[in-house]
């Protein structure tokens, strides 16, 4: 499903590589935590998987496709099979919860009818039933992140990438978001989550990949934060 083969990435102007000969393979339906100190290269992996950046060497496969050689006009369609959640939610402030989720459908050409059918469903799934018409500033951080998860999931992507989705949330809210991601994972979606939250990692007991200075130092099937 996801495969990095000897990937090295050095940003322009950077003195040392942010990822150094990284190989990792993630199967369909897996749930993987990427952990490691700040600046170790976790977000860089997410960006590679989204084809926001390209590696200097090595191969990146996502959904059986070689991302490194993908033509730029194919990227949009490719991204429709990936959902993405970030620490800062990235919601549109002038749109309601419903509209934020529907926006993701509209801009890839889905009809309003489709949106009317699936958006309430997915908002219900993330536990926001009844709050569809609230604007982001009328929602708590946890609720905003639920909207973001709903938006990432509304297209039923094969993969959900989450870069510190609980980074701005208190421990209880974090656990709730975590349960939500777990539920999404149970629908068969591969989940890749970058986190600093030892609590969550220790509770979930899922596969843990630890990175340090751009190198994988640990890859454990039912790991803890360590």
């Amino acid at each position: 499903m996801i495969q990095l083969e000897q990937v090295t990435k050095t940003y322009p102007k950077a003195s040392r590589p942010s990822l150094d000969d990284v190989s990792v393979s993630i199967d369909k339906g897996d749930f993987v935590f990427f952990i490691g100190p700040s600046g170790s290269g976790k977000s860089t992996i997410i960006k590679l998987l989204l084809h926001e950046i390209t590696p200097n060497s090595g191969k990146v496969y996502v959904n059986e496709r070689d991302v490194t050689t993908m033509r730029s006009w194919k990227i949009p369609t490719f991204r429709r099979s990936i959902g993405c959640v970030f620490q800062d939610f990235r919601l549109l402030p002038n749109r309601t919860a419903y509209e934020n989720v529907a926006f993701a459908l509209e801009v890839i050409g889905k009809s309003k009818g489709v949106a009317r059918r699936v958006v309430p469903e997915v908002l219900e799934l993330v536990g926001l039933g009844g709050k569809e018409h609230r604007y982001p500033h009328e929602l708590s951080g946890g609720e905003q992140q639920r909207v973001a998860v709903a938006r990432a999931f509304v297209n039923r992507p094969l993969i959900l990438l989450a870069d510190e989705p609980t980074g701005n949330l208190d421990p209880d809210t974090s656990i709730e978001i975590m349960r939500l991601l777990d539920r999404i994972n149970r629908t068969g979606t591969t989940v890749v989550m970058v986190t600093h939250d030892s609590n969550i990692v220790n509770q979930m007991r899922r596969r843990v990949v630890e990175i340090e200075s751009g190198r994988i130092v640990r890859d454990q099937p039912r790991g803890v934060y360590g």
Binding site: W73, P76, R79, L92, A104, E106, V107, I108, G109, R151
Partner: protein, 291 residues
């Protein structure tokens, strides 16, 4: 659905930066008016040139003391000349008659001129009007000839004025065009900045590039089209109220511009305005804003 979305984005985009949009449209209008005017002058001068040059002749004026023999030998040489299409002899008397009718509105001038002060001449029409120099070289040293005059030279002066008018219009349109292009780039940068969150989300969820870029490009195209319509209106008003109104007396030298020519400017200017803005917009998005 997609078209509706794109259109509503265009409308909100134009409205959000309404002062910018207006500045854009005005600049575009001025630029296209100048371009249109220059094209009209160009066509007009072309038309006038082929009209007048078809009529112009070379005048060979004879000295007052020209002998009969000189005149007849010159006439037969001209008739047999391969460069010459036809030759008309104009005696002093006919020259005088022609002068009188030409200046019948200026009796003082006619009265002040003695009938025999006008020289006799040959009016020579060349097969190729450009070949004046060859004729001149051939006949200039002949006895009995006082002067050989190319009427084209006189016309060339008039057309020179038209040409420089056209050049001025063209230069102004280019300068304004550059200003318009910079405004397009600026307008798109502002639009892209004010929509950066939406653009980021669209990229994230996999909206196609054209879908992201179309509203921006269409805003620029719309501004270009409005500019073209304004420019067309300006040209039309200039033609009806200026050339055929206040400056009507000029029409003896400057024949009226056909309405068809002016009407043709609408699609031409609209096409140019839309295409130029679309390309400028797209380049801005592609290489500068990187939407």
């Amino acid at each position: 659905m997609r078209a509706k979305y794109v259109l509503s984005e265009v409308v909100t985009g134009l409205w959000r930066n309404v002062t910018m949009t207006i500045a854009m449209m005005i600049t575009m209008a001025v630029s296209l008016t100048m371009l249109g005017a220059s094209m009209l002058v160009y066509k007009q001068v072309d038309r006038m040139q082929s009209f007048f040059y078809g009529k112009v002749e070379v005048s060979i004026f004879l000295k007052t003391d020209v002998t009969e023999a000189q005149r007849t030998s010159l006439q037969s040489d001209l008739k047999g000349d391969p460069l010459v299409q036809n030759v008309i002899y104009e005696s002093r008397d006919t020259a005088w008659q022609r002068f009188k009718t030409q200046f019948k509105d200026a009796p003082d001038l006619v009265n002040a001129t003695k009938p025999d002060s006008l020289p006799e001449s040959f009016r020579v029409k060349l097969k190729n009007p450009e070949k004046f120099q060859a004729i001149y070289n051939k006949y200039n040293n002949r006895d009995g000839i006082s002067e050989i005059v190319d009427q084209r030279k006189l016309l060339a002066k008039i057309f020179g004025i038209f040409n420089s008018m056209q050049n001025v219009a063209l230069i102004v349109s280019i300068i304004q065009g550059v200003a318009a292009l910079l405004l397009v780039a600026n307008m798109i940068q502002i639009a892209a900045y004010s929509k950066r969150r939406e653009v980021a989300v669209m990229k994230l969820v996999g909206a196609s590039n054209w879908f992201i870029q179309a509203p921006f490009v269409l805003e620029a195209v719309f501004a270009g089209l409005v500019g073209a319509v304004l420019a067309f209106a300006a040209l039309f008003v200039a033609k009806t109220f200026f050339l055929e109104g206040a400056l009507k007396s000029l029409q003896t030298v400057f024949p009226p511009i056909p309405t068809g020519d002016v009407l043709l400017m609408l699609p031409i200017l609209a096409g140019i305005g839309a295409a130029v803005n679309a390309i400028a917009g797209w380049i801005t998005l592609r290489f500068y804003v990187r939407v």
